[in-house]
């Protein structure tokens, strides 16, 4: 029973975190989840802020 609760909490916790972080990230429109994700992590150039 305890094992079940631990596993359940872990899975739902992780799932919730991945969903919110994905939505947050894409909403900003900064980095996508595809091949550019890595360069985004190193430095996402923001065109909007660069062309000020």
């Amino acid at each position: 029973m305890i094992a079940s609760i631990v596993i359940g909490v872990a899975i739902f916790g992780y799932a919730g975190w991945t969903l919110t972080s994905y939505i947050r990230k894409t909403k900003k429109g900064k980095c996508a989840s595809c091949s550019l994700a890595k360069s985004c992590e190193s430095a996402c150039s923001d065109v909007a802020s660069m062309s000020k």
Binding site: T18, K27, V47
Partner: protein
């Protein structure tokens, strides 16, 4: 901590050098415009940071990626410039170098592609060149990493100190008078005044705006016109910028006469021979289509599918058994078992099995990028694209879009014409990306077993054809063109190195795998939960669940299209988050133990015609969430973002309906 910035003409190997110097891996390829944003890396041994910029031909920007680079150079703080120069195109490359020298920032020159220059019969005296320009020159071969240690040493240990005196070129008495007049009027404390004046007369819009904010713009305009008139009548040139470009070219030719020798006639026979075939008058487009067809043959029939089957057998064999044993031994509840098997195994496993196919596709895209074929496709396609109000270059983002729409849309930055760029951004989502490939894989494996490659090719072609038709429609209605432009460099062919190919395939594919472990995982758990719960409690029959209720609403609207089930509806809603999730959802809904069983179940729920109509709908209906995000960012307009979502929905509905009608008329059902 010093900041060095990489600058140079497009396709000179800046990103390759960036990768060697920082030990990271950025996107590289063999065409002009691979890098479209700035990227920051840490130098090996942590001795400072290095910034990679998009390529630019001159400091006066024409396209958006060039603007990113030139704005950075003009307004951001950095310590020195590492100017990468293509040794085989020295004359053209030095045009930018000279402008950078005039700017007066400390500069180090990396002479790349020395091997190519040698092949072309050029002998460059780097010592002499260094003396003439007054900067350090380091020969490198960025592709193999030769010379990169010297560059690293030069930029970290002997960081070029502040230049004492900016480099200066004499632009002729007439213009120099105007330059002096402008400098005289500039407010006190203007940085690099001579450079500002020179760039102003060359027509640099960024410099002009900056000057206009401090000075009388009418006066500036008068000064410019007087100077242009004077130069025009004296030298018979058309514009001031052409005159200055020419002056600089003469200066550069003068320099090169001292340090470059031609030993033999350059030969381009390898490229020429390949070009004779692949850009042949009549065979060009058929060869491209054949190439795409072979791609899908490889992906689906020859290599990809057999590997996928193996992976499927592993996930649903040993892995599932092992997990079952583990869960039994710790005495897990039924709820947890259902969550893991019906949710995670079905959802995540169902997507993961398509990894081999996606990697094969990425390998081929990487090959196109690295070989030099990309720019040729642009040239072969230009005539067709011109007819629909675009240009051949817009085909490059579309091809990248076959891998993933997001970098495809970013690649549209290299398109000079703003309206053509916008049009490319909103049409690139019609390109069938690798995520959609997993949906096709699932369906063609059931309904079109004997000609999988052909059916998938037809969907890709459908996407491209629709993009062309809509381009014509939009460019003649809401996005009327002023003038189209097409100038593209055709780089020499290179045989891609295995190392580069495998790394760039991995870099592209990695995102897919990572997504399966994060977002697809979360999505699968959520979808499973929605299918497990219903208005009447927990563990309800699937068609009483929340998921069925939500899916049913959408399903009703889809009835004319032949797949008006709540299952299809639910798959489509979740597919907006990421298109692979369609596969996860189907796996969860039909609660199939493995892919083979799911295929059996689906065969009962869809007819081949409905399946095709469904695949077409998946291809077109809305860009995924990540793509919508990047459209918003690149267009900087909520209106165009909404537009790209809505037109896609309308087109998807119309096309799927047409497929069903035509199919029925032909006697299918």
């Amino acid at each position: 901590m010093t900041v060095t910035v990489l600058a140079g003409n497009p396709n000179t190997g800046k990103s390759s050098l960036f990768n060697t110097l920082t030990g990271s891996y950025e996107y590289v390829g063999n065409w002009a415009g691979v890098t479209v944003e700035k990227k920051v890396g840490t130098l090996k041994a942590g001795k400072g940071s290095l910034i990679d910029l998009p390529g630019l031909y001159s400091l006066n920007p024409l396209s958006h990626d060039e603007e990113v680079a030139s704005r950075f150079l003009m307004s951001e703080p950095f310590d020195s410039i590492l100017n990468v120069v293509d040794a085989s195109q020295l004359e053209r490359n030095l045009n930018l170098t000279v402008q950078l020298l005039e700017y007066g920032k400390p500069l180090l020159l990396a002479l790349n592609m020395m091997d190519v220059a040698k092949q072309n019969g050029l002998v460059i005296d780097t010592q002499r060149l260094s003396e003439l320009l007054g900067v350090q020159v380091v020969p490198v071969v960025a592709r193999s990493g030769k010379g990169s240690d010297q560059v690293l040493e030069a930029i970290t240990d002997h960081a070029p100190g502040t230049a004492l005196e900016p480099y200066s070129i004499w632009y002729g008495d007439t213009l120099e008078k105007a330059v002096a007049e402008l400098i005289g009027q500039m407010p006190q404390g203007t940085a690099s005044p001579r450079w500002m004046a020179v760039q102003f007369f060359e027509g640099n819009s960024v410099v002009r705006t900056s000057l206009e904010s401090k000075m009388d713009s009418a006066w500036l305009q008068r000064l410019y016109q007087t100077a242009e008139e004077a130069v025009r009548s004296e030298f018979g040139v058309r514009t001031l910028s052409q005159y200055m470009r020419k002056q600089r070219a003469e200066h550069i030719q003068g320099l090169l006469a001292h340090c470059v020798r031609h030993t033999k006639e350059g030969h381009l026979t390898f490229s020429e021979r390949i070009d004779r075939i692949v850009t042949d008058k009549y065979l060009g487009i058929p060869i491209f289509l054949l190439f795409m067809y072979l791609t899908f043959k490889l992906t689906f029939e020859w290599i990809g599918s057999p590997l996928s089957d193996l992976l499927d057998a592993f996930i649903n064999g040993p892995l599932r058994d092992g997990t079952t044993w583990l869960l039994d031994s710790i005495g897990a509840q039924d709820f947890i078992k259902a969550l893991i098997f019906d949710g995670i195994f079905a959802g995540v496993g169902g997507v993961l099995v398509f990894v081999p196919q996606i990697f094969i596709l990425f390998l081929i895209i990487s090959f196109i990028e690295d070989s030099g074929y990309m720019a040729r496709i642009a040239s072969v396609m230009d005539r067709l694209m011109e007819l629909v109000g675009l240009n051949g270059k817009t085909f490059i983002p579309m091809i990248i879009g076959f891998g993933c729409n997001v970098p495809g849309i970013m690649a549209a930055r290299t398109i000079e014409q703003p309206k053509e760029r916008l049009l490319t951004i909103i049409l690139t989502p019609l390109m069938s990306c690798s995520a959609r490939l997993s949906v096709y894989s699932l369906f063609v494996g059931i309904f079109f077993k004997s000609n999988q490659a052909l059916v998938v090719l037809s969907l890709y072609v459908l996407g491209v054809v629709l993009a062309l038709v809509l381009a014509k429609l939009f460019s003649s209605t809401i996005l009327k063109q002023q003038e189209s432009m097409f100038v593209v460099e055709l780089p020499p062919y290179r045989i891609p190195q295995w190392k580069t190919l495998s790394r760039s395939t991995w870099e592209k594919g990695k995102g897919f795998v990572r997504k399966a472990g994060t977002f697809i995982f979360g999505g699968s758990v959520l979808i499973w939960l929605l299918s497990y719960m219903g208005p009447h409690g927990w563990n309800v029959p699937m068609d009483q669940s929340f998921l069925a209720k939500i899916g049913g609403l959408i399903g009703q609207v889809l009835t004319p299209l032949g797949f008006g089930t709540w299952q299809a509806g639910a798959a489509l809603i979740t597919g907006f988050l990421a298109k692979e999730v369609v596969v996860s959802t189907m796996n969860i809904i039909y609660a199939a133990p493995d892919t083979a069983a799911l295929q059996g179940l689906l065969a009962g729920h869809f007819t081949p015609l409905q399946a095709y109509s469904f695949m077409a709908f998946i291809l077109l209906y809305v860009p995924c969430l990540a793509t919508v995000g990047v459209i918003r960012k690149e267009t900087m307009s909520a209106r165009w973002t909404w537009f790209s979502v809505l037109y896609a929905l309308v087109v998807a509905y119309v096309i799927s309906y047409a497929i069903v009608l035509i199919g029925r008329a032909l006697g299918y059902h």
